[in-house]
Each structure stands twice: as structure tokens, then as C-alpha cells.
């Protein structure tokens, strides 16, 4: 690696060094408490998947090039040069970590592995060594924001194809708009994913609840956040913030996409609207009597996988359980304490990398499969696109024999007049 490249990468490293990050870098005492916390280590038993091992690479580069200030600083190992080999190690550490933060709950100092891995991801972006497909997907999202007029027609044509299905789910009066778009003064802006499965059931429930809603032109998923590029993350986020501001909505409701919700909730800064997950919104409709659900739509017991970015990392814990109590008399928790729930193994962009990560995703999530199977449930509900795909992959791979469902579509299916 030439000096200029190294200097540029170290400038990127420096840009990440706020107080919290320095604390995480300088505080690990290698106590080993986090060893069993990572699903990849618990499933595969390889040392490189221990959280503290993953950060050690970043910490050693930090030791070589930056001045430490922490008391336990001497316990950090050898200083490490930032070179091609170090980049390969950073790739291995960061792109096998889903950013689930289970290890952080175990760490007595709250060392945040996801934050530390964000340094690794940023250095990889800087060195053009990141999974390039994620950057391309991020740029595709940004392009849609820049040239919306070019894509509007395609978007509206796509929606037209879905209207019939929405009406099948909830009958509308003549003249009512089935999937409203671009409605200034709507109360709620729903930000979906591009597929029918993310739009149709949500629309059915909004219409049943007589919500004054409008659908965003943009998809919720933030590939900039997955790839670990703060500039792209912000550009993708800004498309939605600008749309919400332009339409003067009171609430932005994010679909079942854990990362999209967490990014909007935690990175949007001061904003003139409230941010909710669709799970929160649907729970509210039930509480307010705006929708009613049948407990007999689903036969068999139901368990729920808490998406890490929704539950552990953003606090959406009570709402899904409230909904589930209205869907079944046989709900089975996977864990006594939701903070310690196992990650599905698909987050952090791994699922979007598709077949390239499939083998690792299956091997590293054996422990999740055991957790699901111990519940004995027939239906496995969740509220995140990534988790849903990963859980379906696990279901096929380990022959779990469960039915994996999106919670929001279960709500739509169980609606009663």
C-alpha cells in the first residue's frame, strides 16, 4: 500500500474517532466475557469470530497511528501496520459481523463491536475493497432520489399492479384511493421496500384503520448503512426526510426493515415528524380500536424473532408482543430476556450479498436454529426483511419445518370488520 493511500485511510479512521469510539478502543481488558456472546463463535467455535478478537485488529492499527489516553491502554497488544494484509483481516472481521450487538450486552464496559466494525467498513470503502454490489445498490437508491421524475412513471405503474390485491384484503368505498402517493398534508408517510410483500399488507391495514396516509416514492432500506459509508447513508436517508418535510407529514412509518428503522430513528437528527416502526403503528391501531384481529386465523403456536436492529438496538419490544397476543393464545417466547436473543445471522448486509454469504450464514447461525426449534412453535414471525430472508434460508437448510411470516402480513390476514 502506498503512503498516500495509507494517509487517506488514516484520515478516514480519524473521522471516526469521537469520544465513544476512543473509549471502546482503549477500554477492552480482554476479560473474555464476550467470548460466547457471538452467534458465529457459538455456532462455529472459531476464535476469529469472538467479538474482542474482531476489534483487536482495529485496536492495534489505532495503537500504531493514534495516541491513546485510556488507563487500561497498555493491555492492547502489538501495534499493527495498516497494509493490504490488515485490510484482508478487517474484511474478515467486519463482513462476518452482523452488527447485532449481542456481545455489547455481555461486555462489562459496553464495548460496541458494531461501532468498531464501522471503522473497518469505512476503511474498506476507502480502499475500494468493500462488497461492491452494496455500493452499487446504494448508488442506485441515491440515483432514484436525484432523478425522481425519471422513475415516477415506473413506480406508479408498479403500484397499479398491486391495487387489486390491496382491495382484496380490505374493501374500499368507490372513489377512495387504494394506495395514496404524494399526498401533501397526510398524517403518515409509509416508507416500504420495493416488493409487493412490503406494500400490500401494510396498505390493507392502513386502509382498514382509516389512516390518512401516503406511500413514499423511496424504499426504506439503506445500503449505505450496510456498506458502512456515512456519506451514502446520509444521502439515502435525506431523500426520505426531504419527502416527509415537503409533504408536511406528522409521522414517518418505516416498514419491516430493522436497519432502515434504526438509521431513521437514530441518524435523522432534529426533524419535524415522529418516526415509528410499522409494528408500533399496527399495535397502536389495535389499542385504539381502529382495527380488530381474529385469534383464530392462525392455527398452531407462534414464536417471534426479535430483529436485533428493532429490539436490542432500538427498543421495539412490547409492540410485537401486544400484536401477537391479539393473534394467538399460544405465543412462545424464544428467550427470557430479549436483550440476549440470538441474532438470525443475516444482518449487517450479509443477506443482501445473497448466495455469496449463504454458506457462512447457515453455519454461523446453527445456534439460532436450535433456539427456534426449542420453542416447538409452528409459525415463526418476525418484523424485518433481512431476518425473514435469513430465517427462511435457515428453515430450508436445517429443515426446521416452521412457517416464516412477516408480522405485518399476519395482521393484514387476521383483520375482521
Amino acid at each position: 500500500m502506498d503512503q498516500k493511500t495509507r494517509d487517506d485511510l488514516l484520515t478516514l479512521f480519524q473521522s471516526k474517532l469521537n469520544e465513544a469510539m476512543r473509549f471502546y478502543l482503549e477500554t477492552c481488558t480482554r476479560c473474555g466475557t464476550c467470548t460466547e456472546a457471538c452467534h458465529a463463535y457459538a455456532s462455529m467455535g472459531q476464535v476469529k469470530y469472538i467479538a474482542a478478537y474482531r476489534h483487536e485488529i482495529i485496536r492495534r492499527i489505532y495503537k500504531k497511528y493514534f495516541k491513546g489516553r485510556g488507563k487500561v491502554w497498555p493491555s492492547v497488544g502489538e501495534a499493527k501496520e495498516l497494509n493490504e494484509m490488515a485490510l484482508e483481516e478487517l474484511y474478515e472481521a467486519a463482513w462476518s459481523c452482523t452488527g447485532c450487538r449481542r456481545c455489547m450486552v455481555y461486555c462489562p464496559f459496553g464495548v460496541d463491536t458494531q461501532m468498531l466494525m464501522s471503522i473497518a467498513k469505512l476503511l474498506l470503502v476507502g480502499a475500494s475493497a468493500e462488497p461492491e454490489i452494496l455500493t452499487l445498490l446504494a448508488d442506485t437508491s441515491i440515483e432514484k432520489g436525484k432523478s425522481l421524475e425519471l422513475y415516477k412513471e415506473g413506480f406508479l405503474a408498479g403500484l397499479k399492479r398491486l391495487e387489486e390485491e390491496v382491495v382484496k384484503g380490505w374493501q374500499m368505498e368507490a372513489g377512495e384511493t387504494v394506495i395514496p402517493v404524494d399526498v401533501e398534508g397526510a398524517d403518515l408517510l409509509y416508507v416500504a421496500l420495493a416488493g409487493a410483500h412490503s406494500i400490500v399488507p401494510a396498505a390493507v391495514v392502513f386502509n382498514a384503520a382509516r389512516e390518512n396516509w401516503t406511500l413514499s416514492f423511496f424504499e426504506a432500506v439503506n445500503f449505505g448503512a450496510f456498506v458502512g459509508d456515512p456519506t451514502r447513508t446520509k444521502l439515502i436517508l435525506d431523500r426520505i426526510i426531504n419527502e416527509a418535510t415537503r409533504l408536511k407529514v406528522k409521522e414517518v412509518c418505516i416498514c419491516e426493515c430493522g436497519t432502515a428503522y434504526r438509521v431513521m430513528q437514530q441518524l435523522a437528527g432534529r426533524r419535524p415528524f415522529k418516526v415509528s416502526s410499522i409494528t408500533d403503528v399496527q399495535a397502536r391501531y389495535i389499542r385504539e380500536g381502529r382495527i380488530k384481529l381474529s385469534r383464530s386465523t392462525f392455527k398452531g403456536s407462534i414464536t417471534y424473532h426479535d430483529p436485533c436492529q428493532m429490539a436490542r438496538n432500538a427498543g421495539v419490544i412490547d409492540a410485537p408482543r401486544f400484536i401477537l397476543r391479539h393473534l394467538t393464545d399460544d405465543f412462545r417466547e424464544m428467550t427470557d430476556d430479549i436483550r440476549y436473543n440470538w441474532c438470525c445471522g443475516g444482518g449487517g448486509g450479509l443477506v443482501a450479498l445473497g448466495e455469496d454469504t449463504l454458506d457462512f450464514r447457515m453455519k454461523s447461525s446453527r445456534i439460532k436454529t436450535e433456539q427456534v426449534q426449542e420453542t416447538g412453535a409452528q409459525i415463526l414471525a418476525t418484523a424485518c426483511e433481512n431476518c425473514h430472508t435469513q430465517l427462511e434460508n435457515l428453515n430450508d437448510h436445517y429443515k426446521m419445518g416452521v412457517k416464516v411470516r412477516f408480522l405485518s402480513s399476519m395482521v393484514a390476514d387476521a383483520l375482521v370488520a
Partner: protein, 80 residues
């Protein structure tokens, strides 16, 4: 299949949710030569915006798209 366009590679992407059609087509386009054409068939309504935006971003060209019931058919020329 379209009458006028000579297709060099077919990709059946039916049933795949977003972003998989774009992920697959990004890989697929690298498996044909510059100037050659992929025919990609999807059922994901999101691809009606995702494919054109992806093409602009990646520098490839969508020659034509057709909707037929459930399916959406794109003819994409590798130009980058």
C-alpha cells in the same frame, strides 16, 4: 422473447424479492461481452424503478421493458 432484439443470456428472476433481481443482474451482466444483451424476467414491481436506476448508475442500457400480466421483462445491453 422479443422479435427484434437478439438475446445472449436469459435470466429468470421471477419470485425474487428486492434487491435480489438487481444483485443477480449486476452479476449476470458481467458474464456477457460488451454490446451483448441480457433478457431478465422479474415479478417484483420494484424492478420497474430499480432496473432503470441501476442501469443509469452502472452505465448499462435498458433497450426495452415489457409488462405481461405478472411478469416484467427487461432487455439490457452491456455498455459498461
Amino acid at each position: 422473447m422479443s422479435d427484434e432484439i437478439k438475446v445472449d443470456k436469459h435470466m429468470d428472476l421471477k419470485g425474487l424479492p428486492c434487491p435480489m433481481p438487481v444483485v443477480k443482474v449486476s452479476k449476470g451482466i458481467k458474464e456477457v461481452e460488451l454490446g451483448q444483451v441480457i433478457e431478465a424476467v422479474t415479478t417484483d414491481p420494484g424492478s420497474l424503478t430499480d432496473f432503470p436506476a441501476w442501469a443509469r448508475t452502472s452505465g448499462n442500457e435498458i433497450l426495452k421493458s415489457e409488462q405481461d400480466g405478472e411478469t416484467i421483462r427487461f432487455y439490457i445491453k452491456r455498455t459498461a
